[in-house]
């Protein structure tokens, strides 16, 4: 690892100031991706601005919305009685990320800012129609994800929280890579105020995406049978050493049907 200056500001405002003063500085959340990247010398920031003390952790539920602070760990979300009650699918998703040691450090804000195409949280944010709050604005899920490792975040913009509207029902099913636990394919299905939304992670060349043919069918009839014949085109899906695009396309259907069954 190349050396860097380490700073731990006590507020979001101070963090933004530090990041703004140095274009080579990077924000550090849980570090579950950034630290391995630095260890491989794939990145060389001059400074790391640790957000651990910036007051961004915590969960609140009010008015049909679950609001999760950006620095809330996966373990906290997975074990939260409030989240389990309001959006059990979200707690289950968080409990399936990595392993328990990773869940004790990794955060929702870090995961979303990184936007790994095989990460779990993007599927929940997109399917539930969540809103990503930053130090500057609120960004709708449909506008937030802009491709593999690409988000709407601007330089110096930090995620502060994510607000999830509580759905009528929802479920997440993933086929995990057996080594990394990242999603080979993960499908989040939600039925809420905005209708039925189906988000697919792990499969798309451009990261998380909505399966709109399935959304339309499930909107008419929320059943496994309704999507039994809906194929996902393989031409925009990933092929790698873990799975080919055709296999991933098949898994999207399987995971979607399992999610519909689990949502009930």
């Amino acid at each position: 690892m190349y050396d860097f200056t380490y700073q731990k500001p006590a507020s979001v405002a101070d963090a933004v100031k530090l990041l703004g003063a140095d274009p080579e500085a990077k924000a550090l959340a849980g570090g579950m991706t950034l630290i391995p990247v630095l260890k491989q010398r794939l990145n060389k920031p001059s400074a790391l601005v640790d957000l651990a003390d910036a007051g961004l952790a915590g969960i609140s539920v009010a008015g049909g919305t679950v609001r999760i602070g950006a620095m809330t760990t996966h373990a906290t979300v997975a074990n939260s009685a409030d989240v389990k009650k309001a959006i059990p699918a979200l707690a289950k998703l968080a409990g399936g990320i990595g392993d328990k040691e990773v869940r004790h450090r990794g955060t929702i804000g870090g995961s979303l800012a990184n936007d790994d195409p095989t990460a779990d949280y993007p599927a929940a944010v997109l399917a539930l129609g969540a809103t990503v709050e930053t130090n500057k604005r609120s960004i709708k899920a449909d506008d937030f994800f802009q491709g593999m490792f690409m988000t709407a975040l601007e330089p110096g913009e930090l995620i502060t929280a994510v607000s999830f509207p509580v759905p009528e029902k929802a479920a997440y099913m993933k086929f995990p890579n057996p080594a990394s636990r990242y999603a080979l394919v993960g499908v989040f299905v939600a039925k809420g105020p905005a209708g039925v939304r189906v988000a697919v992670t792990g499969a798309g060349q451009n990261g998380v995406f909505r399966q709109k043919a399935m959304e339309a069918a499930l909107g008419k009839s929320f059943s496994q049978a309704a999507i039994a014949d809906i194929a996902t085109p393989a031409d925009e899906l990933n092929s790698d050493i873990h799975a080919g695009a055709e296999y991933r396309a098949h898994l999207v259907g399987v995971m979607a049907r399992r999610a519909v069954a689990a949502a009930g």
């Binding site: 690892m1 190349y2 391995p36 640790d50 040691e101 990773v102």
Partner: protein
């Protein structure tokens, strides 16, 4: 050079580190606590698991400076000063839950967190699932799972509920 002050195995320490110094490097190289191992160095194998304020984390994927003001427990901090082993260590010995021993410190730290965070009981499946962040290439896990199940009643001071899920 920055300094980091933290508590390690109940003792307050202040150490000179670089920004890039990993927590595991602080423990092994600066404090001589070589019981915490580095296996894969990529946060997969779990040989470096320690407790940070009681929660199991991988010390190879954490900066020493991130631990400032926090309390770290390593494998060296488990046994009593008279040498009495922690019940988890005792059960690992009792059930022959190790062969080469390289993964053992991380396994024990991870297992203690698993048992402590499940006061309602642990099924065999939960134990196996709870070890997904720890790799052992000798034993095939079977005796490790047995040791953890045997440690649960000792750590909670009661019989494990039968059908815990």
């Amino acid at each position: 050079m920055p300094q980091v002050a933290l508590t390690v195995n109940g003792k307050k320490v202040t150490v000179d580190v670089e920004g890039r110094t990993l927590l595991v490097e602080l423990l092994r190289e600066k404090l001589g606590l070589t019981g915490t191992h580095v296996g894969c160095d990529t946060s997969q194998c779990g040989a470096c698991v320690i407790h940070l304020d009681g929660a199991s984390v991988k010390s190879c994927t954490m900066l020493a400076l991130q631990a400032a003001g926090r309390s770290v427990t390593t494998i060296e901090g488990l046994a009593k000063s008279d040498g009495t082993l922690h019940p988890m260590q005792e059960m690992f010995r009792e059930h022959h839950a190790l062969q080469c021993g390289f993964c053992t410190p991380g396994m024990v730290m991870s297992a203690i967190d698993l048992v402590q965070s499940h006061p309602e009981g642990l099924s065999e499946q939960q134990i196996r699932h709870g070890l997904e962040g720890n790799l052992c290439r000798c034993t095939g896990y079977h005796n490790i799972v047995k040791a953890i199940a045997a440690a649960w009643p000792l750590m909670h001071g009661k019989t494990m509920p039968a059908a815990a899920e």
